[in-house]
Symmetry: C2
Subunit: 364 residues, 2 copies
């Protein structure tokens, strides 16, 4: 039986426990009764620079769920920026609520004021359920926002750059697997043909890869199949398909206990976030099966590189692509490091990212 | 029986619920594993200006206790600044931990960096377990600190100014009770003869009041009694003593269910914070017994006025005392308002404070 005392204990706010787990620096709860704003900004690490990360809006079922999400996402941004060689730290923001019910200019500008009050320690950008025009409202109140439309002086849509990074990361993986990085004739399945997936298909079709595509949106699926002469396949079928390269570009956690034994591929290289359901367990399982896994947070960093350069100043499309192209060499380095040390590739990427942060922390 | 589901529910982080209760704007959790810093900064309201409030260090038994404390204290600062006519909002900070074990330069400067990153939205000052030299460490990292020693350009020790405010608030209450504000021959009990209590005794003895003093520190008690020809009385005895004025200048919540029926005084006017154990219940009880209660957060605001003027610029001792002297008229106004509207005096003071905030919010 559960005692009332246990209940009281459970009620205790364990925020610092949560922050200590993965060494988060700062957590900011923002509240405004007038606009109904409830937002959490998480700053994971600012050793390399200001904490950059998007703002997402989501109708979380509880504050705890929002907290969990924002802590996890902020942490991911730290390592993504670190592995990409950007002078940026990791952060993230979530606005809690039903987009259709509460999103309006006043709420977004109030949120912008909170971001501004952090004096550039957190830099925001577009994320789930936020549109370019939403970001413009936020930008009315703070200069610490990036990824704005090209038309108003920003670096604009990051998805083509993200796709480019995935493409070069995939080629680097092919180089490791096959000795050369040509994708000609390679069988490649692309899971999800949203904005990034479509741009990726463009690169792959130019290289004359044999393409397979899946998407829950039938219209999008068929237009992608038609445009790039790709074979449409079923949502579940994709896991069994014999291919050279599987490219998850939709939801996360598709590499899991249910799928991993069905996979018949040599390489996994995609744009989705958090592809490994369990980073340690499934990272090891892929390695033991001889599947080359290009770490997601490394090869999908093109979008971050684009907004990061935009924020740090001196953005040009060319600069963003040039910096993103370095993902090729970093992928090679990480695959070699993993091989040399007998660790899985995600682990190797994290090791490099953490080393960069601790090296720079040591400089201070 | 308590279901496991209930337990899960109880575990949920109810931060936004806490913020909504009293409409707090912002809550910042600051964490640094290297120095062991765990601090919470609460910003209650910034309508009137930056949120000013001290930083206290305390070995809270839980994070929840620290949270409760910082939320409550920040809120108090909002109304204290508002009723004092300062262009300041309300905030507070707590550093969690054992002073003797964790307080050092690195931790204090790390905390200062967090304060600095808020860009002046929160302004800190000395509070419990923080010394002037601790504040100087914080000031190495942020300009948003006030109440520094006079020797390094600050407004210095606020307790004489606090005592002066209590003194004029007491005289205003006497004016209301007796038709004139002379304290000559009045029987006054001063509970607690720390720094503020001692300065208050100085004013009262000059007016030739008949003084009674209590303090748990025997040495301090006897030196106060000797210096100001005051009668030392017992710690509990003070509640039964027949006096004109009872002046609580030690711990809070001394006006409670156990003491209120024992009190034989016409006026309560002291420096302690949160004198009413229950603001509504005990405020009403005093009113119904015909005891004039000078609201604590109004008459003990001299210290805040001193550091507030210091922060806002143009501090001089004269300016601080001149602004503090206005407590006299505000006390008169509030006692009259309470009488006119048939409400208790704490309620009247809160009403005026909240009205000022909403009036100014309307300007924006």
């Amino acid at each position: 039986m559960i005692e009332v005392n246990d209940l009281k204990k459970a009620k205790e706010v364990e925020i610092f426990g949560e922050l200590a787990k993965h060494d988060h620096e700062q957590l900011i709860f923002c509240h405004d009764s007038q606009t109904g704003l409830k937002a959490i900004i998480s700053i994971h690490n600012t050793v390399l620079g200001p904490a950059l990360g998007g703002t997402r809006m989501w109708n979380y079922t509880s504050d705890a769920e929002a907290l969990h999400d924002v802590l996890r996402l902020a942490r991911g941004m730290t390592y993504k920026a670190a592995i990409s060689g950007l002078n940026l730290g990791g952060g993230k923001a979530v606005i809690i609520g039903d987009v259709d019910k509460i999103k309006n200019e006043a709420l977004l500008r109030r949120f912008g004021k909170f971001v501004e009050s952090l004096n550039g320690k957190y830099v925001t950008a577009e994320d789930m359920n936020m549109t370019p025009s939403d970001m413009e409202y936020i930008a009315m109140e703070t200069k610490h926002v990036t990824g704005l439309s090209e038309s108003i002086g920003g670096g604009g849509d990051p998805s083509p750059v993200t796709a480019y990074g995935v493409y070069v990361g995939m080629k680097a993986s092919a180089k490791k697997a096959y000795g050369n990085d040509s994708l000609e004739g390679k069988r490649i399945s692309v899971q999800g043909v949203g904005s990034v997936g479509m741009h990726l298909l463009e690169y792959l079709s130019k290289e004359k890869a044999k393409l397979f595509v899946s998407d829950y949106n039938e219209g999008r699926l068929h237009s992608a199949a038609k445009k790039y002469k790709a074979h449409p396949i079923g949502l579940d079928e994709i896991y069994n398909l014999e291919v050279d390269i599987y490219s998850p570009c939709a939801m996360g956690a598709t590499i899991n206990d249910n799928t991993i034994d069905r996979m018949r591929c040599k390489i996994i290289a995609g744009a989705a976030n958090n592809q490994l359901d369990d980073e340690v367990l499934h990272g090891k399982m892929l390695a033991s099966r001889g599947i080359i896994y290009a770490p997601d947070f490394l090869i999908n960093a093109g979008g971050l590189i684009n907004v990061g350069i935009d924020y740090l100043g001196g953005w040009s499309k060319e600069r963003a692509y040039r910096k993103t192209e370095k993902i090729y060499q970093t992928t090679i380095d990480i695959l070699n490091l993993a091989e040399k040390e007998g660790i899985h590739t995600h682990d190797a990427a994290m090791k490099l990212a953490k080393k960069r942060i601790s090296d720079i922390a040591g400089l201070k």
